[in-house]
Symmetry: C2
Subunit: 184 residues, 2 copies
């Protein structure tokens, strides 16, 4: 398993649709950030809104999390695949089971986790080094990403990973406990 | 840990908004089904669309998964809490950590997993037997539900749980392999 920060973890979101996927894409990026990814790459329809949400959450809740829009994901992934610059992991309900596959992924190299989207181009299955399913039932790319990252990154130390934010939520059995840093 | 089917697992989705939450709510129910819940209870704005999606997926992909609309979730949860008929688990970024809490949940009783929604009423924190966070960073109720169910239910045997469907996806490293039952 890679330790957090040792190797870059990116999430590439295919086929975003501005209206229909507004909240799913937003949740996907927040899940990437919260579960230890370093970066999300938005593809599909160009849309400032999720990029703004992710940057705003990062500035308020801390840590480093990058996001940008990539207009040509296939070209981008073909390059990665050709140069073997990162391992490409494609999360899909058609893939091989996580338990069987995760231990095969090299832990000394950065990874790009590709998630659809409706209608993922068939080429992605070939470009991916690993096509991985979190069960073979239909569910959600957000759920799949959370389970994959939870297995890949393991437990996160929030004090290390999310330092520098204005807002810190303190775990509590019965109430909302929030620490807000005062401006100097 | 409860074994699948031994005790009923329900998910209660608070505060659904017909337009904004269309896909998130749909994904939430599919995640509930795929990760071993028996039922989802939709609350907030009344909406046939997610109920139809869930029923359609269940009839195509197999298993038993119930869903219905509940117009008065607070009244419903107050009754559950008063009668102690089920354990109420509220997933919230303000709650106590999963690792610390999950072993305390009784495994001989049915559970209702409550997920927001924007603006969860404060009363829910008191009605819940356990307020549980999957990390204290903002992310997604879909991610939180997947991680909770994955810890609570454990590994699912899809052949047992999702029998009777027309469609069966077969795990594959390189392509889509789908088995479709022929009509008799």
């Amino acid at each position: 398993m890679s330790s957090v920060g040792a190797n870059d973890i990116s999430v590439l979101r295919l086929g975003h649709r501005r209206e229909r996927d507004k909240r799913i894409t937003s949740h996907l990026g927040l899940t990437a950030r919260a579960f230890g990814a370093d970066k999300i790459i938005l593809c599909g329809e160009e849309d400032k809104s999720p990029l703004e949400t992710w940057s705003s959450v990062t500035s308020r809740f801390g840590g480093n999390f990058d996001c940008y829009y990539e207009p040509k994901p296939l070209k981008f992934l073909r390059n990665v695949s050709k140069n073997k610059s990162s391992t490409i992991v494609h999360l899909t309900m058609y893939g091989e089971g996580l338990e069987k596959t995760i231990s095969k992924i090299p832990d000394d190299k950065s990874i790009i986790i590709v998630v659809g989207g409706t209608k993922v181009p068939g080429e992605i299955f070939g470009l991916a080094d690993y096509n991985i399913s979190i069960g073979n039932q239909p569910h959600s790319e957000v759920a799949a990403l959370a389970i994959f990252l939870n297995s890949w990154v393991g437990k996160i130390d929030p004090d290390k990973r999310f330092e520098g934010g204005e807002i810190k939520v303190l775990p509590s059995a019965r109430e909302k406990k929030v620490f807000i840093a005062e401006e100097e």
